[in-house]
Amino acid sequence: MSSVEQQFGQAGFESVPHAPPSRVRIQTGPLAEAGPSSGRRELAVEAVFDVREVSVHYGAKRALQGVNMRIPRSRITALIGPSGCGKSTFIRSLNRMNDSVTGFKLDGEVLYHGHDLYAGNVDEVEVRRRIGMVFQKPNPFPKSIYDNVAWAPRNLGLRHGLDERVEQALRGAALWDEVKDRLKASALGLSGGQQQRLCIARAIAIEPDVLLLDEPASALDPIATASIEELMHSLKGRFTIVIVTHNMQQAARVADETAFFGLNAAGGEPVGTLIEHDHTEKIFGHPADPRTRDYVSGRFG
């Protein structure tokens, strides 16, 4: 952690004189210009999120500064970077899960299909109904497997064809074959990997527009991780997926686009910000920013 801060502090921004730290560069083609560009680039596909100059404070503490980012529809976008650089804060700001954190304050705009998520007339419950989230630690309800998946549809009034909906969701989460004979058994009896897939099934049962995954595999063993990654490939296209991960190989394997978050020490106290956002091959192959290059090549350990 401290070595990361140090490194970023030393790297500074002198080395990239024309690139302000918060600028987002989204390349539209594989051979798009590689040098730092000052303008916002249009995406090839429609953007689901258009994040504009977002900064987050928790009380007096700054957690995130000056993030600009467009997240494309029906793609998987991975957020990578060292601990404490605001990835979780950022992803939780996309469906207002931070609202309940005391002292949380967001400046800037998070546009979701053109609507400001933080506008006064926006209901956060409706936001989360469209933008689902799966957490680091599997958190199934202490109910049966079936009731875990059926719970949200029931409460949202989607009672029609509930059995089919539950089956579809469990199939979608690649869990159906393992649990179809014990749907009435407690979800707490499942293994960690199964519980996490159940949480994904629970999230997709209400057919959200976006699925946010906050380090979904970090508490799982490699085999369960592999099944989660496989699952993400199968969900791609149906949902827009944003995933936070510490595992760079995982980002390289599953994501269409990758955003690298780091610490910006320019303004004194280091604060998390978006360093670079591009196609995954570009981020891992030819990153434009030296800090990204250092991170993906493992020079920060």
């Binding site: 469906n95 899960m97 309940s100 419950v125 409706e126 936001v127 989360r128 109904r129 469209r130 689902g132 989230m133 799966v134 957490f135 630690k137 958190n139 199934p140 309800f141 202490p142 109910k143 719970w151 949200a152 409460n155 949202l156 407690s186 707490l188 009896g189 949480c199 629970r202 999230a203 209400i206 959200p208």
Partner: protein, 293 residues
């Protein structure tokens, strides 16, 4: 630096240095604590023993089922009625107070409410009796079972609320996060996820409150004491026979037989309270295990 080693590693492993003294102090402290625990349990055992010895001789089927002067049947039924009504008043209210404190209140109101509940829990029950007497008995000019159950509900409320609050806090925050992230409003989460996983603890708090209310005597003396204990009277709008006041009356009687029956009634009450407490404990353990998965 040429420091002397603190001990010789090759010496036999018997106490060295001040360990002997420390061991002695430790033994004194330990036996003091043990003695205190034995004393506390001993007092309880003596109470239970004397109630058992004195009360058992009065026990018989007639004693349990017949009315005065042979038995305490109507008082048993009456106490059950009053306590049941009090439970109906106190449990929903107490659970709602706890839900407010844990799920919605959070802010500046939580501390004063919690303090109020703790103060309520410590009220002398005679004051609750006076309050309800002035509130209901005086205006209606009659003692009543319903007034008694209001008084008992006031006594039960803080126990239910604080007990429920404790178990609601045991429900992990990840449950709330999970339901929030599914776009379901918090109120529905409370009803369908949070309260069901805390139901064992709520039942425990309720049983403890019932056990406490069943033995409360002071308010009942003011509110439902002028009754005819010879037959069952279920009308809640008049004075209802009940165990605590019956015990009080019997023990005031001049003849020694009344005193024996007071012991018998006390035995019945004590047995109920002990069974209720043990049941509450079993329930709580079961729900803890369920929460742990």
């Amino acid at each position: 630096m040429n420091e002397q080693p603190a001990f010789d590693p090759a010496a036999p492993l018997t106490p060295t240095g001040n360990l002997r003294r420390r061991r002695a102090i430790s033994r004194v402290a330990e036996s003091g604590a043990t003695l205190a625990a034995v004393l506390a349990v001993g007092v309880l055992a003596i109470v239970v023993y004397s109630v058992l010895v004195h009360g058992a001789s009065a026990l018989s089927l007639d004693f349990l089922f017949k009315g005065e002067p042979d038995g305490i049947g109507p008082a048993l039924v009456g106490t059950a009625e009053i306590v049941a009504m009090a439970t109906v008043f106190a449990v929903p209210l107490g659970v709602l107070v706890a839900v407010y404190l844990v799920e919605f209140g959070g802010g500046r109101m939580a501390t004063p409410i919690r303090t109020t509940l703790d103060v309520m829990n410590g009220y002398p029950s005679i004051i609750v009796g006076l309050f309800v007497f002035a509130l209901i008995v005086e205006p209606t000019e009659s003692q009543s079972g319903i007034a008694a159950s209001v008084a008992l509900a006031i006594i039960m409320l803080p126990i239910v609320a604080r007990g429920t609050e404790e178990v609601l806090r045991l429900v992990p925050d990840s449950m709330r996060e999970a339901s929030d992230a599914l776009g379901v409003s918090r109120w529905r989460s409370v009803l369908t996820v949070i309260l069901p996983s805390a139901v064992g603890g709520i039942a425990t708090a309720t049983i403890l409150a019932v056990a406490r209310a069943a033995g409360e005597t002071a308010p009942l003396l003011l509110i439902t004491s002028v009754f005819d204990g010879s037959h069952v009277s279920l009308n809640p709008f008049e004075a209802v026979p009940n165990i605590p006041v019956t015990i009080y009356k019997l023990s005031e009687e001049a003849n020694p037989e009344g005193f024996a029956r007071a012991w018998g009634a006390g035995f019945v009450l004590l047995a109920f309270i002990m069974v209720a407490n043990i049941g509450a404990r079993v329930l709580l353990n079961r729900s803890r295990r369920k929460m742990a998965g």
